[in-house]
Amino acid sequence: MHRTGELYGQFQTLEQQKDSAALGMWVFLVTEVLFFGGLFLTYTINRHAFSTAFGVSSNTLDLWLGGFNTVVLIMSSMTMAMSVWAAQVGKKKQVTVFLILTLLLGTTFLGVKVIEYTQKFQHHLVPAYHFDITYHSNHPLATDKPEEIANEKEELEKAVDRKNPANDQDLNAHAQLYFSLYFGMTGLHALHMIVGAGLLVWLIKESLRGRFTPQYNTPVEIVGLYWHFVDIVWIYLFPLLYLIDRHR
């Protein structure tokens, strides 16, 4: 990567050079869209086939943590966009400030994700590891909102009742399918967040040396594109994973 911002021989103007870099990043993001697209496709097919199990499983997720994380990630996209703006208008100090804010919001997101994953272990919701979809609502030590757990319990008892032939006879197995997708999709998303955080650390280091100017801010712009893409993935993950059948 050209790091000083001089014009390379194959380009005629700096603008053309920057547009080419952005185009290259977009081509990479197209492959990412299809990469995540495969997971969304798997999700859609299984949700269509096992809608009860998916609804029941989705309702065990903590909507407050998920909603908080959605807001955090949208805010981080805002600060990322602002650091691009600061670089474009030559406010060098603000570039660093906004990049640090973005990194802080990104790590907050990952921290909340750790809390959520821990809860999944405590509630026996990790596939192939003492998985039991009824555990949470039956267990007196599970300390979420009692009235919400009572609702879940009622819903589960109806769904688990094997005497009703209309019910999903393998609810526990199909709930594991939901949680496999939950961990697969949020895990891959979190991995992208970790890569993004690494890139931000590098950007902060460079911006502290005053590297980014109105003439040369391609790295901020390019990492910004990546960061916003990861935000878009979450914009879809949040309603698809957390908000199934909430109205019951």
Binding site: I45, M78, D231, Y236, F238, L243
Partner: protein, 108 residues
């Protein structure tokens, strides 16, 4: 350089819209619209994603060939989703997905 600089005011409007969109999604999830629930949820998500692409990612002000690449991403994703789902949603009723044999053995 004729680079277009998006002003912080525009970013602020987009941010507000995205946050309102999130609130509306959560509200809508608690209403019973029947089979429309998923359509509404995905509609709002797509609206939010479009705003991010157009303004935060500057696609609205990008060269036409960059815009073409973005459109291609959506089209190819559409092909993958549409053609696969055409298959899955037109299987005969007795051809539905069943519990994999490995899990049946595990449960027995």
């Amino acid at each position: 350089m004729s680079e277009h600089i998006v002003s912080p005011k525009v970013y602020a409007v987009i941010l507000t819209t995205l946050l309102v969109g999130t609130a509306v999604t959560v509200w809508a999830a608690y209403q019973n619209f029947g089979s429309l629930n998923i359509v509404i949820a995905l509609g709002i998500a797509t609206f939010k994603a479009t705003l991010v692409v157009l303004y935060f990612m500057h696609v609205r002000y990008s060269p036409k060939r960059t815009q073409l690449v973005v459109v291609c991403a959506v089209v190819w994703l559409g092909i993958m989703l549409a053609l696969t789902l055409t298959d899955y949603t037109t299987r005969p009723p007795n051809g539905r997905l069943s519990t994999p044999r490995a899990i049946q053995t595990f449960q027995a």
